[in-house]
């Protein structure tokens, strides 16, 4: 099954070309040009991963990451950035970013990261389901 990705960047031309290239590699891609729009889309749809520019107009990248993680903790977020300082990378990873790639990114590496992100998301979801079952069994099974 193909990976469903939400691509978020304020450069509309970048969104257009990236989504075309990602779709050519079998992914299903939706786009948003701001973190606010991405958050609104996440309320209605589920994705395997988000590929998001770290610095966009409006909501700050760290804040956007926090908001998305609080809304969808299992969602894998790959950050794309024009510049990647060690401090920002560490901060983003602490909040729960899956990976941080520098622009211009190699699409094959990005595709591999997305594939891995989907597998990681499945593991998180499976683990959560197992925990829920365990909890139910403990409560009702004695």
């Amino acid at each position: 099954m193909s990976e469903k990705v939400l691509l978020v960047d304020d450069e509309k031309e970048f969104l257009e070309i990236m989504s075309e290239r990602m779709e050519a590699r079998g992914m299903t891609v939706k786009t948003a040009d701001s973190a606010d729009q991405a958050l609104a889309m996440l309320e209605k749809e589920s994705f395997d991963a988000i590929v998001m520019d770290f610095k966009m107009p409006g909501m700050d990248g760290i804040q956007a990451l926090k908001n998305i993680k609080s809304q969808k903790p299992e969602l894998q977020i790959i950050l794309l950035t024009g510049y990647a300082t060690v401090e920002k990378t560490v901060e983003a990873m602490k909040i729960g970013a899956t990976d941080l790639l520098e622009k211009p990114a190699d699409l094959e590496s990005l595709a591999a990261t997305i594939k891995q992100a989907k597998a990681d998301k499945m593991l998180v979801v499976e683990k959560k389901t197992e925990e829920k079952i365990k909890d139910i069994l403990q409560r009702f099974g004695g």
């Binding site: 610095k55 409006g58 794309l80 024009g82 520098e102 211009p104």
Partner: protein
């Protein structure tokens, strides 16, 4: 040159850093788009080879045009950045303030956009020139724009926010007027010279600030006309 070196303190360096960060971020974005377009051309070639079909010339032409557009954007940005980098080359000289406002608007476009603000510059009715350090004038205008953006940050995000820069009518008294739309809440006091560092910047170029008559912005103007300023003793050592 000793006076010029005063700008090479931490604030001047921080300003240079902020502009460089914004410009290099823009450059990375241009490169990313060029990179993806080049990748798209590569994809076209691979597809054509796999299917033994010719490359769609219209599509290849469109991609090539997109690459050219990004190269033009990057070239414009690099020219602006080069002019900015050379702003420290000279001591006090005659500076075209309108030109400096356009330079800052181009260099800080990304920062302005991040505040959700649109900046427009009304052409000066008369030449707006003054004797000053170019780098100092750029720094001052940058801070003016940054302050105006910060004031507008308090306005609801979905409102269209605008900063309009215009110039005075008297060529002997250089004046930069900043109008904000929407008008900040009644009682706003965030005049540009609230911060001591900004007051220092104003001193460097011998300007003062006042709220405008309609209460929707502020104006910076030269304390004395240039001829008087040039013959006066330096304000600070």
């Amino acid at each position: 040159m000793a006076d010029n070196n005063r700008y090479m303190d931490m604030d001047g360096t921080a300003f240079f850093g902020a502009v460089s960060a914004a410009v290099t971020h823009d450059m990375k974005n241009f490169l990313a788009i060029i990179n993806e377009n080049a990748g798209l051309l590569g994809d076209l070639a691979v597809n054509a080879q796999n299917r033994s079909l010719p490359i769609d010339p219209q599509k290849a032409g469109r991609i090539s045009e997109k690459i050219r557009n990004q190269v033009a954007r990057a070239d414009t940005m690099m020219k602006l950045f080069n002019r900015f980098s050379h702003s420290m080359d000279h001591a006090e000289e005659t500076v075209d303030v309108e030109e400096m406002v356009h330079l800052v608007a181009g260099l800080a476009a990304r920062i302005i956009r991040h505040h959700g603000v649109c900046l427009t510059v009304t052409p000066a009715p008369v030449p707006c020139r003054m004797k000053a350090y170019r780098f100092g004038v750029l720094h001052l205008i940058f801070r003016v724009v940054e302050t105006a953006c910060t004031i507008l940050d308090n306005v609801a995000a979905k409102t269209q926010k605008q900063i309009m820069v215009s110039f005075g009518m008297d060529p002997k008294v250089p004046e930069i007027c900043v109008t904000l739309d929407p008008v900040p809440a009644p009682g706003w006091v965030a005049l540009f010279d609230d911060c001591p560092k900004d007051r220092d910047l104003l001193d460097q170029v011998n300007m003062v600030v006042k709220k405008n008559n309609t209460g929707n912005g502020f104006c910076l103007y030269r304390i004395q006309p240039d001829h008087a300023y040039l013959s006066a003793e330096p304000k600070r050592q």
